[in-house]
């Protein structure tokens, strides 16, 4: 029973479903929505790495999303660069800005960091909105090209675009998986848990936080660049604080500080919002209180709740097994403990 739920199997299953999805539905609209969800997920992972695993709540991530999107937009539309060159350059730009911002931002802590990034996000939005000559201001950037073909692979159809985004998402998940399950990830978690303790065991918190921040902005920028090339039109609104709040909602509902939280939360909310058209405008009537209730009652979201329920179930079974004299203790309890750590 427990074997089926093994993380590796679950991941493989998810990948298979994701790969087969466009073939199953035949509905290009669904494929479109799913592609958008994947794009958001990448950004949510950026937020998760920083807030969930390192303990720093950044409220500027929509700004970095917008930097990624606008960089690729400006480079292709205005500077006439080729797509992939612009793509890579836009990621670099996001990282460099992320590095500079991080250097200043991490002089502050906790509340100051959140307030600082909140204001920074607003500055980024304001710059995009007001700098007409570069960003076209409120008119927005129109005619961003779709990804150029790589050799024989073309990205003109919705479905090929879907696979391209899926490829990047899987890459991001793989990177996250490896980070979290490594010494490096333990280092970040140690910082989240107690920065003082982390310092006394010789962890350079500044260096690690900065690395996380840059990688986190990289994810946000990647998400933005993919968004721009998928939607082909961007306006200043993509840098607005409400986008950060959206990302945060996806993360919290799915489970902050869990590996699969961004997947669960984003899919769920994006689909719910799509199902309830016209609800979009008032979605925060529900998601606002949900956010608040979650941090009070289920601070680790759906994934956290399910995994702790699962752990309890396992330990109960284990307990019964111990009471009844049986041969060997199965690997289940070890797995359950692993579950707690990984979520």
């Amino acid at each position: 029973m427990a074997k089926i739920f093994k993380q590796r199997n679950m991941i493989s299953l998810l990948i298979v479903v994701a790969v087969l999805f466009p073939l199953i539905t035949n509905n290009t609209y669904y494929v479109h929505v799913m592609t958008l969800s994947f794009i958001w997920m990448i950004g949510v992972y950026g937020l998760n790495l920083l807030a969930g695993y390192t303990g720093y709540l950044s409220l500027a991530h929509a700004g970095f999303f917008a930097i990624g999107a606008y960089s690729i937009g400006i480079l292709t539309v205005k500077a006439g660069m080729n797509f992939w060159g612009a793509f890579i350059l836009s990621l670099l730009i996001t990282c460099v800005i992320g590095l500079v911002v991080g250097l200043i931002a991490f002089r502050t802590k906790e509340h100051f960091f959140a307030i600082y990034t909140l204001c920074l996000g607003y500055i980024l939005y304001l710059i995009i909105d007001k700098w007409d000559s570069l960003t076209e201001g409120v008119r927005g950037l129109i005619g961003i090209p779709a990804p150029a073909s790589i050799g024989p692979i073309k990205f003109e159809t919705e479905i090929s675009h879907y696979y391209l985004v899926l490829f990047f998402l899987l890459l991001v998940v793989l990177i996250m998986y490896r980070i979290i399950h490594s010494l490096t990830g333990r280092t970040y978690i140690a910082i989240r848990n107690s920065e003082d303790l982390a310092k006394t065991i010789g962890i350079s918190t500044m260096k690690n936080k900065l690395t996380v921040f840059v990688l986190s902005t990289f994810f946000a920028g990647l998400s933005g660049a993919l968004y721009a090339s998928f939607v082909r039109f961007i306006g200043p609104d993509i840098g607005a604080i409400s986008i950060t709040f959206d990302l945060l909602t996806y993360l919290l509902v799915g489970g902050i500080g869990t590996l699969s939280g961004p997947l669960v939360g984003t899919t769920l909310i994006v689909w719910l919002s799509q199902q309830l058209q016209g609800f979009q405008e008032y979605r925060m009537l529900i998601f606002g209180p949900v956010l608040t209730l979650l941090v009070i009652f289920y601070p680790r979201g759906i994934v956290g709740a399910v995994s702790s329920w699962y752990t309890k179930l396992i330990s109960k079974k284990d307990h019964q097994r111990i009471l009844r004299p049986t041969k060997v203790r199965s690997g289940a309890s070890i797995e359950a403990e692993k579950e707690v750590k990984e979520g």
């Binding site: 002089r107 307030i115 607003y122 925060m284």
Partner: protein, 288 residues
Amino acid sequence: MEILIQQLFNGLTIGSVYALVALGLTLVYGILHIPNFAHGALYMMGGYITLTMMTKFGLHYWIAIFVSIILVGLIGVLMERFVFHPLREAPPIHDKIAAIGILLFLEAFAQFYWGAEYQSMPTPYGQVVQIMGLTFTMQRILIVVAALVVMLLLYLFLKKTFMGATIIAMSQNREGANLVGVNTNKVAMLTFMISGGLAAIASSLSSPINLVFPGMGQLVILKAFVIIILGGMGSIPGAIVGGYILGFSESLGATYISNDYKDIIAFILLVIILTVKPTGLFSKGGQH
């Protein structure tokens, strides 16, 4: 010269509003160490409630403001009771997210209930007065005077009453206050009540010269944060002085630098402050 005086007066007006909002924010921070991201939503609710009381129920401006103070204060108390109180032992990231949740809800609620369009608030003080060849609107003079009165009353309350003294005591030392028998729950609720009331006053005063809309609190709250970082998180005089400083720099900046970018002045100020001194300008000791 005339432009300068006019702008200084405008700065005084905006600064008064900022100071009132920042005062509420800094009081809550001082007591509970929560940066209340939902404070801007309280400001917005204050504007709408006053407006509704005047247009729907035909109340006089001042009575409408009074109702608004009470209702927004109550929203503040509810927030404290049902959200921040249960989260007092949680990691610091949680109460920030919870506050954001409240903010999102209140804004969506305003949009749902009152609509997304900009509404203007009528005022009995629309007249224009001439003083020494300069024109001032009565409403602006009212803002400046009313803000001063409110601050004076708050000062008297904090310094001269027992309840006020407990608020000060608790903001200086929470555990200590608990030990000497201060009912910290009561103080926390009272602080939220005052904080909400101040936000309602600020928005009710400024709405006739600005407008009422669901997102009206967003910029104000951001600036209020800048102010209390400028003035020292939790510092009451700091919030007042910081409010006026920002008001003046904005109105002068709008005239002499660029009207488009006047809103950015606050944030650039903040970036500079936190770059030079990460714990805020007038903070005592350190964050650590």
